[in-house]
């Protein structure tokens, strides 16, 4: 029966890094020895066989190796994992691996391409040496360019670059340089994230001394990036994501479309069969085979709207009606009208979506949208 269900996304977390970046709060630990990685992949395989062992196994149309630093696992272990799930993979499955630019990626890329990886997401963050240093990155912009070249040479034709906005001391000029650098590499996809300080990170502790751009500058940097990327032919399809037509990241779209995905590894989150669950941020627990923790029901109306409004396609009457069997509440559409007047949204026939200016205040918009739903008696 599960073969008739829509295919899901599979996320594999690699909780290791050579050096922890001072802004990052994803779950990752200092890199370990080879034997340790073997043990970790065995634990992953054990969990995989739980989900893909029986009749409930689902088809997969996207796989995402995130981290941490997935390339630390090496091409053989990546291959093993992909081999285990290969019976479930759709023909055109998008298989992405996050990599940090560095030395000797050429043979690694060749290896994983053979195993099926067809998309690379490279953490460039900035093309300015000074900014890379601020971010504690251990690579140069040149190495990132070489990594792109290596990936293409290996036959991986779908490349995404990560950029960071509002880096300490970043200016519109320096951001422009980074964007121009990216353009020359012709990536198919770009993610541009506003730097956010997270508790527990080194940046959080040092925030007073960081020379972060002021709020107004931060907004300008974001809007500038949106405009520039649009001009370069990358359309903004989500708050922080830009792509050539047809090259939107399929895996992340699953999150925002409220579709199902399974995440494996400590700190990885899943949404399957209406339920959300996650593995705690505890490597040893995961190695010991501890099961995931339930995280309540997912896919409700509020959540659906919250996620849809992250996208440029926005909240559409048709999908909403199909999923929940009712039209979009009037109060929400009235609110959309107010948003449009202030330049925060575009109201289109059959729905509405936020503009880049609207994305910048999307939390406030979403909270008000949730209040609208609640007033319409649709959520609590």
């Amino acid at each position: 029966m599960s073969w008739n269900s829509p295919p899901i996304g599979l996320y594999i977390h690699t909780p290791f890094c050579q050096v922890k970046c001072p802004y990052c709060d994803f779950y990752s630990l200092p890199s370990q020895g080879e034997e340790f990685y073997d043990a970790y992949v065995e634990a992953l395989e054990k969990q995989l066989s739980c989900f893909f062992g029986g009749t409930a196994a689902r088809r997969i149309d996207s796989v995402y190796f995130g981290g941490g630093t997935p390339n630390l696992l090496g091409e053989k272990r990546i291959g093993r994992i992909l081999e285990q799930v290969s019976p479930y993979l759709e023909n055109d499955t998008e298989i992405t691996l996050e990599a940090n630019p560095g030395e000797n990626l050429e043979s690694f890329f060749q290896g994983i391409h053979k195993s099926g990886v067809n998309r690379i997401s490279l953490g460039l963050q900035s093309a300015c040496a000074e900014e890379l240093k601020q971010l504690g990155r251990r690579h140069t912009a040149m190495q990132a360019a070489q990594a792109v070249e290596a990936a293409r040479k290996a036959g991986i034709s779908n490349i995404s670059l990560d950029l960071m906005l509002a880096i300490p001391r970043q200016t519109q000029d320096s951001l422009g340089q980074s964007l121009a650098f990216c353009e020359k590499l012709h990536p198919e996809h770009l993610s541009a994230y506003l730097l956010k300080l997270e508790p527990g990170t080194r940046f959080w502790k040092e925030k007073e001394r960081l020379f972060l751009p002021e709020e107004e500058e931060t907004c300008e940097l974001y809007l500038f990036a949106c405009r520039e990327l649009e001009r370069l032919g990358y359309h903004q399809y989500e708050i922080s994501n830009f792509a050539r037509p047809g090259k939107e990241g399929r895996h992340n779209l699953k999150y925002w479309h409220c579709e199902e995905y399974l995440g494996l590894g400590p700190g990885a989150h899943s949404f399957l069969e209406g339920k959300r669950f996650y593995y705690p941020r505890d490597l040893h627990g995961f190695l010991d085979g501890k099961p995931p923790v339930q995280d309540g029901a997912g896919g409700g109306m509020e959540e659906f709207c919250m996620l849809a409004l992250r996208l440029r396609e926005g909240l559409q009457e048709e999908t909403f009606q199909k999923r929940f069997g009712i039209p979009l509440p009037k109060s929400l559409l009235r609110f959309a009208g107010q948003l449009e007047k202030a330049g925060y949204a575009e109201v289109r026939p059959g729905g509405f979506a936020l503009t880049a200016k609207g994305f910048l205040v999307s939390n406030s918009i979403l909270a008000q949208a949730a209040v609208c739903l609640e007033q319409a008696g649709l959520c609590t």
Binding site: C219, I239, Y255, G263, H269, Q338, L366, E374
Partner: protein, 602 residues
């Protein structure tokens, strides 16, 4: 068994705040062994938490004690503690009317203060014998001789043999009690005459109904007697009478002339046993009530609203219950566009208002929004009608007003001379008219001003304290209405008048107040999706303007590896935050914005 009236001493203690009245009362209780040491809690007469915390007495309390005097005799002391604040002047006067003497406690370093003097005059007017006591002689700055002279000069009573004591350290307390025996005359009265009992305090007890604290002037009262409240004529049957001991009630078969005790008669609310009223017997009534009764009138009004609209019935219940015990508290329902359903409440003064608000919040767990306090304005309309306005919302259109009047006070401020300049500046700012200034001694003065009541009720106390480093004291009494150039100031948010923020103000004050309010609101209203213009206007003319700029950035840029719950929680939190705000059109106003405009000087 009646007590020998010659051995009774009815007295109260009067003092300025912090001069040690309650501490002295505690020491007296201790030394008459009225309280077992294990029951001893500091300041036993101040029952309410609020009273202990603030170090003030809000309600009167009384206790009957037995003192073994040095002459070998046993004396019955009825110690009646009085409220220590100008808001409760009337209650003070009734408590004093129940006594033959008053122990005047004066701080050995601070000397006489405004409150002391005001209450001492009340006591002298009531014909009480004054027993001066110099307290806090343990302090290094104590100067008992100077203070003795001050008492003689200012009050005009001999203070040569005034005991010099330290209530805190328990020094010379026996001298105070000996002076009470010696100086305070025993009560007079005729127990054969028709009953006349003065109610000097009353409070509601869940089991016994209202318990009236009384001083019998004439006659006797027993359980089973039918009594009558002489001001209203209502009748009740006495279920119990007796003496107030330090920690319990002691029922008695009879109370008789000269004694102080309590009467319970299944009375449902204190408004049926009002302070100052006279109790007599229905079968043998007195011809005349005791003098001095008046129904207390609220002078300060404000709107009180539950922060959560659903708590409206709870607020009503709480106010009803407080009113059982507080005949001076008035309230009636009112509606505000901004704040929903609430009550217009009337108080004796600012302290009374604060006390009620605090009790509602603490004892009844209510989260409140209050509007700016208002006095009662007298408006003569062009039609000749005279109306009284205690709510700015009801203020008539200026074209309909012939004359507007506001209540005035006679105010006395006692201060070391070095602060005279500051105080005069403050009083000028508050539209005061200087009357005169007299020297209490070489370095302290009594400054007399006429001040509009509405200038006192906002934050006069705080301003006075901060400008005199706490050294000045202040007392006032109402003196009637005076013609005034009043205007109604409205605040508009995003073009809509917010009724709860309107208030009546003197025309000269409108501009600075409008500007301050607009600034304060700008400060307190958070940036939101849409820009919020704040305008203050008088009669449709905008006199101050601020803008809360639209929010710029509030975004979670990254979707944490499919951790939707984290985002959902954030959204939930933000949604809850919105619910705590008042939604006025598209503008969200936090509760504290309403409260912030009450204290504009901070």
């Amino acid at each position: 068994m009646a007590i020998d009236r010659n051995k009774i001493r009815n007295f109260s203690i009067i003092a300025h705040i912090d001069h040690g009245k309650s501490t002295l009362a505690d020491r007296i209780l201790e030394q008459t062994s009225a309280v077992a040491l294990r029951d001893m809690e500091d300041q036993i007469l101040d029952n309410m938490d609020l009273e202990r915390e603030r170090g003030i007495t809000i309600k009167a309390h009384a206790v009957t004690l037995v003192y073994h005097a040095k002459d070998g005799q046993e004396y019955v002391f009825n110690l009646i503690d009085t409220p220590g604040h100008v808001d409760f002047n009337y209650e003070v006067s009734r408590s004093l009317a129940a006594c033959e003497g008053a122990v005047l406690v004066v701080d050995a370093s601070q000397g006489i203060e405004a409150q002391t003097l005001a209450n001492t005059y009340l006591a002298v007017d009531a014909g009480l014998e004054i027993v001066p006591v110099i307290n806090k002689i343990d302090l290094p700055s104590a100067d008992p001789d100077r203070v003795r002279h001050e008492v003689e000069d200012v009050i005009g009573i001999p203070a040569d043999d005034a005991p010099a004591i330290s209530a805190k350290m328990g020094i010379n307390i026996d001298q105070v009690m000996e002076q009470v025996v010696r100086l305070v005359p025993p009560p007079e009265g005729d127990e054969k005459a028709p009953l006349k009992a003065l109610i000097f305090d009353s409070y509601y007890d869940a089991y016994k109904g209202v318990i009236a604290h009384v001083r019998l002037k004439d006659g006797t009262v027993h359980p089973g007697d039918t009594i009558r409240m002489m001001s209203v004529g209502s009748e009740f049957t006495v279920t119990e009478c007796g003496y107030m001991r330090a920690t319990n009630f002691e029922p008695a078969k009879e109370l008789s002339a000269g004694e102080v005790g309590y009467i319970a008669a299944s009375i449902k609310a204190v408004k049926d046993a009002r302070v100052g009223d006279t109790i007599t017997r229905a079968d043998d009534p007195a011809k005349e009530p005791l003098p001095g009764y008046r129904a207390v009138q609220p002078m300060v009004f404000c709107g009180i609203y539950p922060a959560d609209g659903a708590k409206y019935p709870d607020l009503r219940d709480a106010l009803e219950r407080l009113q059982l015990n507080d005949a001076a508290l008035s309230f009636e329902p009112e509606t505000s566009v901004a704040l929903g359903f609430g009550f217009r409440c009337g108080f004796l003064g600012l302290l009374h208002m604060e006390v009620i608000q605090e009790r509602l919040e603490r004892e009844y767990n209510l989260d409140l929004i209050t509007t700016a306090p208002s006095v009662i304005y007298r408006i003569t309309k062009t039609s000749g009608d005279v109306i009284y306005i205690d709510n700015p919302t009801n203020y008539p259109d200026p074209s309909l007003i012939a004359t507007a009047e506001e209540p005035m006070t006679n105010a006395h401020i006692y201060t070391p001379t070095e602060y005279v300049g500051n105080i005069m500046e403050l009083c000028q700012e508050r539209r005061g008219t200087f009357k005169d200034m007299t020297y209490i001694d070489s370095d302290r003065v009594d400054i007399h001003y006429e001040l509009p009541l509405n200038e006192i009720i906002y934050d006069f106390f705080d301003a006075l304290k901060s400008r005199t480093r706490g050294y000045a004291s202040f007392d006032y009494e109402l003196m009637g209405y005076q013609k005034s150039d009043l205007v109604k100031l409205d605040i508009m948010l995003n073009g809509e008048v917010v009724d709860a923020l309107s208030f009546i103000v003197h025309a000269d004050k409108a501009y600075p107040r409008a500007r301050k309010m607009a600034e304060k609101l700008k400060d307190k209203i958070p940036r939101q999706l849409f820009e919020v213009p704040i305008q203050a206007c008088v009669g449709g003319r905008i006199i101050a303007r601020e803008t809360v700029k639209a929010l710029r950035k509030d975004v979670l840029a990254k979707c944490y590896g499919g951790d939707i719950t984290r985002k959902k929680k954030l959204l939930e939190k933000q949604k809850e935050g919105k619910k705590r705000m008042r939604q006025l059109g598209t503008v969200e106003v936090p509760q504290e914005a309403f409260m912030s405009v009450l204290k504009l000087d901070e």
